[in-house]
């Protein structure tokens, strides 16, 4: 046994908060501890061991053979899809966009099956938001709108708000925390005020709060006539929000399994963030799950103009977000080969089911142990952020470095290395080289 070593300031992709203060303790090429990490973080880092298998049509194969075969399958595909699972660095995502462009493929990410309504609402009307440091230093009122923050984003409260002492606001005792529980689910345990509304009243409540926020001084009299649970909740919430100097309106962009909640809420939350800025300051904070999902949105926007659901079939990017994107195309049989990049083990169930009928090339960590392990080509890689360096994007658009506490073992390929090699083997007139792929991707 060797002495343990510590890699400091490691960024965690356990959720979209991407805490970058993890001290990873490494011994004998294994992670023995992830200090500062929450339960999600501990799960993200694990012990750092990954399988390194490589299969072609179910048989063990050398990686070079598998890459060549994968390139062949992709180049023969009539309607390929490149699908980005979580756990990819921005560098890997850039490579994925490059190969999708070359293949004239569809390019989609887990965003389309999870947080698409938040993104679309933002594209329809915009929103008023802030990076996490702003709410840490400024927000005197923090609203957790139906977000199970302790379980799904465990360190949000201690790192961003309401616990830290900010430059312009004190710590927890100086801030007002409002929990809005929707449909009986508890939003946050630690709240100064708690407002409960039925799921069916959620959109109406948001609309009523917005109306009160936009009201001029003499209109509330008219609103006083408005009856019902939504208006009652709104009348409770609006004064709290309007008397704040800086409101953080925190909600969950990810599905919470409660089908009774209307996806329209995301549009109303964005609208409310605008309305509150008429009278005070407000930042809407839509939280995302782990694996650098915001990075995928950011990379795709930069390279294609669109955050997900991109189609290169005509030789240029088109946007196709409104009818289910990749999931719908898979279900209707409009995809013949799918290149799945990233952690196939964390794909949404319906995506996994839809991929069942399609030839898959799976490149990513633990691909051989994922539900897609029977794919035509399966190549295990290391994990970006554990075995490979790179960049990620926090939910609030802030880029952070991904260190590689277990970097080094030369037999652990990274996703971008494998994708680069596949691009080189594509029989296109302008196939390029691995070096160019890494540079241009």
């Amino acid at each position: 046994m060797t002495a343990p070593s510590i890699v400091d300031n490691v960024t965690c992709l356990g959720c979209g908060c991407t805490c970058d203060d993890i001290a990873v303790v490494v011994q004998d090429d294994r992670i023995v501890e992830a200090r500062n990490a929450c339960t999600l973080g501990a799960r993200w880092f694990g012990d750092g061991r990954v399988p390194l298998r490589c299969h072609v049509e179910g048989e063990d194969a050398p990686i070079a053979v598998a890459v060549t075969y994968a390139a062949h399958v992709l180049s023969e595909a009539a309607r390929p899809l490149v699908y980005l699972a979580p756990a990819l660095s921005c560098e890997s995502q850039r490579g994925a966009a490059a190969i999708a462009d070359l293949l004239r493929a569809r390019l989609d990410t887990v965003t389309s099956a999870t947080a698409s309504r938040v993104v679309l609402a933002g594209q329809e009307r915009g929103y008023a938001s802030a990076t996490f440091g702003e709410i840490r230093n400024r927000a005197d009122v923090v609203v957790f709108w139906a977000v199970d923050v302790e379980r799904r984003y465990p360190r949000f409260t201690s790192r961003y708000a309401p616990d830290p002492v900010g430059l312009y606001v004190g710590g927890r005792s100086s801030r007002t925390v409002i929990a809005v529980d929707v449909g009986g689910a508890i939003s946050t345990a630690d709240a100064d005020r708690r407002v409960s509304i039925a799921a069916v009243d959620e959109v109406a409540t948001l609309t009523a709060v917005e109306a009160l926020a936009r009201a001029s001084a003499d209109t509330p009299a008219a609103f006083a006539q408005m009856a019902g649970a939504a208006w009652a909740a709104a009348r409770e919430l609006a004064p709290l929000l309007l008397s704040a100097r800086y409101v953080a309106l925190v909600y969950d962009a990810e599905p919470d399994g409660r089908a009774e909640r209307s996806p329209q809420r995301f549009d109303r939350l964005a609208a409310l963030s605008h309305a509150l800025n008429e009278r005070t300051r407000c930042a809407a904070i839509a939280l995302r799950a782990g694996g650098n999902r915001s990075g995928a949105d950011s990379v795709l926007v930069a390279q294609t103009g669109y955050p997900f659901a991109v189609d290169f079939a005509r030789g240029y990017p088109r946007y196709d977000p409104h009818d289910g994107a990749a999931l719908a195309r898979l279900r209707e049989g409009a995809v013949d080969v799918t290149l799945v990049l990233g952690d196939a083990g964390s794909l949404p169930d319906e995506i996994v089911r839809a991929l069942g009928g399609v030839r898959c090339i799976v490149i990513g960590p633990r691909a051989s142990e994922s539900p897609l392990a029977a794919g035509a080509v399966v190549i295990d890689t290391g994990v970006d952020g554990i075995h490979a360096r790179g960049t990620c994007i926090r939910t609030d658009e802030v880029p952070l470095p991904l260190r590689a506490p277990l970097a080094g073992p030369p037999d652990t390929p990274s996703v971008i290395q494998v994708v680069g090699a596949a691009i080189r083997r594509l029989p296109f007139p302008h196939g390029g080289s691995v070096a160019a792929a890494a540079r241009g991707a």
Binding site: N9, D21, G126, S129, R281, Q303, T304
Partner: protein, 556 residues
């Protein structure tokens, strides 16, 4: 890299006093050389106009804010899809994209090169977002590029100014430029963005206090302009004044210039800061006041920020401006307050010929150009994509070179607010090709302190553009016959054929390491990014080669 002789072109190289002389341009290993063996490959440029590659001093192409804008405009993108170019070099992967108001990364590089531009600076990057800017620049091929780092609303800077520690403020700026891989200090609405974050909706006064009476827009500008000079940065502090877009802001702009009296300073997109106010509070041109001041003060440089008719996207660190624009236009709006540093706002916009204010803005920009006495100190920009796309530069060149065309355009626009403008009074000036070469390459390069850019002297970077002369100057400048970037022919016969990676242009000024002790403590207490994770130095695609501008006179 190979040798190349560009033969027999009519050369406009104002930095070397070459004004339309027929001569050869010789290139070896990416640089301009005096002579080549007769066996060197040739490009026939007889009858053509030869200029250095274009240099864009102020645009928004690679930043967090640009991506916010890209995300907000899917309906705009849908009208401007762009297929991948047919590249001759198989080691380069041709990429498709979007060529609209806010183009995608690869397309941005292709389009700039296609216009003969070879050097591009993003004018506003929040330090926290620097990694994103580098990543986008890495995906913007061909052009050499860099960015300016936003410092005018930085909480740590304010603390140092408040403590009367302006020298340490300078050290902080030096550290920040190196940590972010930036090129110059940018000031956007000094103090005004912080006031917006605090809920203010008022105009920003030059001597208005931000908490402490020592921290004022004036003190912020003085500190950073002095800092840029003391650090020997190649480019002066790059200043976007307070109260952008507000009638009467000409007073603010003049007071800001006066505040930095005698100091080297660059005032950007002056068109947006040259608005007078009628007795009833309406809009009128203040261009004459501004340009007369600039003409008379040699320490001041500027760029115009011309408005071009058509769709635009306003995106800026000046977040309160976007709030006002959203309120007045009713268009969609994204705001992103960026922790401890700056803001970000985006609102789509359209400048219409029949809109009186847009027509006035258009006229003010042209007044600034046409009344400027020194093209070396007032250079071309549209503040892409705020005033219009960089793809409209050829049309702007025609407006400046062709009075008949300009007058024809003038007759099309809403005249309501144009009474009393110099433009309406019949400005007859027409820019010469030499002057165009100054305001689009030689001037920006000189203002930026880029000694190897913007000219064709021996030792300069071999960035060369060859145009086929045409009385229709829009056509001439839209499709160069040949563009050479660092010695590589990237455009041949008007077609983009090669797309090599551009280089990063940035500075690493020396600083007193003592500053980092307090900074690390500040980060621990107030930031959400670890101090060790803040510098971009460990990027896999770290800028290379590093260019050290520590010498007092700047470039390389």
């Amino acid at each position: 890299m190979s040798q190349l002789r560009i033969v027999g072109g009519t050369v406009y190289d104002p930095a070397n006093d070459v004004d339309g002389e027929v001569r050869d341009v010789c290139i070896d290993s990416g640089r301009i050389v005096a002579e080549l063996p007769s066996s060197a490959p040739r490009v026939d440029a007889r009858g053509m106009v030869v200029m250095p590659g274009g240099v864009d001093i102020h645009c928004h192409v690679a930043s967090g804010a640009v991506n916010v804008a890209r995300r907000l405009l899917p309906e705009e993108h849908a009208r401007h899809p762009e297929g991948a170019p047919m590249l001759a070099n198989e080691s380069e992967i041709p990429r498709s994209g979007i060529a609209g108001v806010v183009p995608t990364t690869f397309t941005t590089g292709y389009r700039y090169a296609g216009l003969g531009y070879t050097t591009v600076f993003d004018a506003a990057v929040a330090p926290t977002m620097a990694r994103l800017a580098h990543s986008q620049l890495s995906d913007t091929p061909i052009v050499d590029g860099g960015f300016f780092v936003l410092l005018g609303n930085d909480a740590y800077l304010f603390r140092l100014i408040d403590a009367g520690e302006r020298e340490r403020a300078r050290e902080y700026a030096a550290w920040l430029l190196g940590a972010t891989g930036g090129y110059a200090i940018k000031i956007v609405n000094p103090g005004g963005v912080e006031l917006w974050k605090r809920g203010s909706r008022e105009r920003t006064e030059l001597d208005g206090a931000l908490g402490s009476s020592r921290v004022t827009p004036r003190a912020i500008m003085e500190t950073l302009a002095d800092g840029a000079i003391a650090l020997g940065l190649p480019h002066a502090a790059h200043i976007h004044c307070n109260n952008l877009g507000i009638p009467g802001n000409v007073e603010t702009t003049l007071a800001s210039m006066a505040a930095l009296d005698g100091r080297r300073a660059h005032f950007t997109h002056l068109q947006f800061h040259s608005y007078g106010r009628s007795p009833k509070g309406g809009w009128r041109s203040g261009a004459r006041q501004i340009i007369e001041y600039v003409n008379a003060h040699r320490s001041i440089t500027g760029d115009v920020g011309q408005v071009m008719f058509g769709p635009a996207a306003t995106l800026t660190a000046d977040a309160p401006v976007e709030y006002l624009l959203h309120r007045s236009s009713g268009k969609k709006w994204t705001n992103l307050d960026i922790e401890l540093e700056t803001g970000c706002g985006v609102v789509p916009h359209e400048y219409r010929e029949r809109n009186a204010v847009a027509a006035l803005q258009w006229a003010i920009g042209l007044e600034l150009f046409l009344l400027a006495s020194d093209p070396w100190r007032l250079v071309l920009s549209t503040d892409h994509p705020n005033g219009g796309s960089f793809m409209s530069y050829p049309t702007l060149v025609r407006l400046l070179m062709d009075r008949a065309y300009r007058d024809e355009q003038l007759r099309r626009v809403e005249p309501k607010l144009l009474a009393g403008t110099a433009l309406a009074d019949g400005l007859s000036r027409e820019y010469s090709l030499r002057e165009i070469a100054i305001i689009t390459r030689a001037g920006p390069a000189r203002i930026l302190g880029l000694r190897h850019k913007g000219h064709l002297g021996v030792g300069a970077d071999a960035d060369v553009t060859v145009y086929a002369p045409d009385v229709d100057r829009t056509a001439m400048f839209t499709t160069p016959r040949c563009v050479v970037k660092a010695g590589t022919v990237v455009v041949e016969e008007g077609q983009l054929r090669r797309a090599p990676s551009g280089r990063r242009i940035h500075v690493r000024p020396r600083y007193d390491p003592a500053i980092t002790r307090d900074l690390a403590d500040y980060f621990d207490r107030s930031a959400t990014v670890r101090f060790a994770n803040y510098p971009v130095g460990d990027l896999p695609d770290a800028p290379s080669p590093l260019i050290d501008h520590a010498s007092p006179n700047g470039a390389r």
